[in-house]
Amino acid sequence: MSKPLDFAFLLSGQYHDALVAGLVTTLELSGLALAAALALGVIVAVLRLAPAAPPRWIAAVYIEFVRNTPLLVQLLFWYFGAPQLLPQPVLDWLYARNFEFAAAFVGLALYTAAFIAEDIRSGVRAIPRTQMEAARACGMHYLQAMRLVILPQALRAMVPPLVNQALNLVKNSSLAMAIGVAELMYQTREVESYTFRSFEAFAAATTLYLLLSLAITAGAAAYEWRATKHRVA
């Protein structure tokens, strides 16, 4: 009773355009969220490793809270829950724009930043303590030491875990469809609902996600190759 597979409707026409639009939105969302998550992750990691207790605790609470609640719950919170605390004029300004995308961006960036912060922390812990001691002995304070000595060494070694987080982010971006973001998974479900061709639609989506992930992995491999080219060992 199943009809023969027919991919023609995906190669041109309205369904093709819908999937491409979804892919573009996924790229935009993932790219922006990844950039923000990397920046925020570095900041949170530096806080987490600070000598003073208050920054350490703030960072630890943030990391534990975000890592231990489901991303879907967090996205629903940022879209439906958090805005209720803002004043109405701000809300009107926000809702006139693409608030769905903004909420998904905030949720994804905060979520991934917590994981990236922990990866950076383990990368920094792999640097011998003598590096920090030497930097402090040269007269740098904690933040200067992190910025000029520790982090550059740690980040180069941390490319594999960071690639992991980037791939997770791309896949997690599909959850944004629950708050109305018209990304790839949303468009795939739409195409599937209207054409009833589940297999072809999901095969196309899977292929596109796979290509995206492979591109990220290839980019990271190229960076690693270039970064270690000048090493002696």
Binding site: Q84, D92, Y186, E190, S193, Y194
Partner: protein, 270 residues
């Protein structure tokens, strides 16, 4: 001996024919149970009753009547707009009684019974949005449910509309109530039910005019003609005995939460 020789092939053919008739209806009868996909968050068609936590509603009453008519138990399974047809096609459910509009596109995938309810697609707006006509939705945001006919119809009616689709009706309504979208569009009865459940129903108003007429039908897997004929027979009996009208009065009558005049009858061929 010669008569046996001619009798045996005839008997074999007869048994083969019996085997060919063992279809879904026979399976259901031998199982003693029919699995029906219903909605569980769309009052008054299928929703969870507060006290008993059971799924009740107009659709469930019809499903129960069909189960009684076939002489089997009913097992109601929650489905969503997006999953109901795939689940039927994969055999996870035997029937769909879940606010499903009969459309030409869906008729290519599954069979429908006669209509058991008729409504239309409308638009719900907040009075504060100051939208009085459907055409004014051009360039504005409208919420709906992913994969529904309402989404396609509103795009056809107002080409420049921006549709934000959610996975279920409560989420789409929440977006409207929070002002994230200016309007919500789906079947009139669903909109009315959501409006009445809201914390201040008078903030909302239904725009005049049906965007499309939506006859609800029961979904049956393609080719299961015995089951479809049995369901249609039961539906016609329900109309003739007045039971269909009684079910309607329970959920849409004057004393119900959602009073609506009954403007249709279950008829053969419709």
């Amino acid at each position: 001996m010669r008569r046996l020789a001619t009798l045996l092939p005839a008997l074999a053919l007869a048994f083969a024919a019996l085997g060919a008739r063992a279809d879904l209806l026979a399976d259901i009868r031998s199982r003693g149970e029919i699995v029906v996909g219903v909605k569980d968050s769309v009052p008054p068609f299928g929703f969870i009753e507060e006290g008993s936590r059971r799924v009740v509603g107009y659709d469930i009453d019809f499903a129960a009547a069909i189960a009684r008519g076939l002489g089997v138990r009913l097992r109601a399974v929650p489905v969503t707009t997006a999953t109901r047809i795939p689940e039927l096609q994969q055999g996870k459910i035997d029937l769909i009684v879940a606010t499903m509009t009969r459309t030409a596109q869906r008729e290519e995938q599954i069979d429908f019974s006669f209509r058991y309810f008729v409504t239309g697609q409308k638009v719900l707006v907040k009075k504060s949005a100051r939208i009085a006509k459907v055409e004014q939705l051009s360039g504005r945001k409208v919420s709906s449910v992913r994969g529904s006919t309402s989404e396609q119809n509103i795009r056809a009616a107002v080409p420049a509309v921006q549709v934000v689709a959610f996975s279920d009706y409560p989420a789409a309504f929440l977006a409207l109530s929070q002002g994230k979208v200016q309007a919500m569009t789906t079947d009139e009865t669903i909109l009315l039910a959501l409006q009445l459940k809201a914390s201040s129903p008078s903030d909302y108003v239904l725009l005049d005019g049906y965007i499309s007429e939506e006859p609800y039908g029961i979904g049956i897997r393609k080719g299961e003609t015995a089951l479809r004929d049995a369901v249609n027979r039961i539906l016609l009996d329900l109309e003739k005995s007045g039971e269909a009208k009684k079910i309607y009065e329970t959920w849409f009558g004057p004393k119900s939460q959602l009073p609506l005049k009954r403007s249709f009858r279950i008829e053969s061929g419709k």
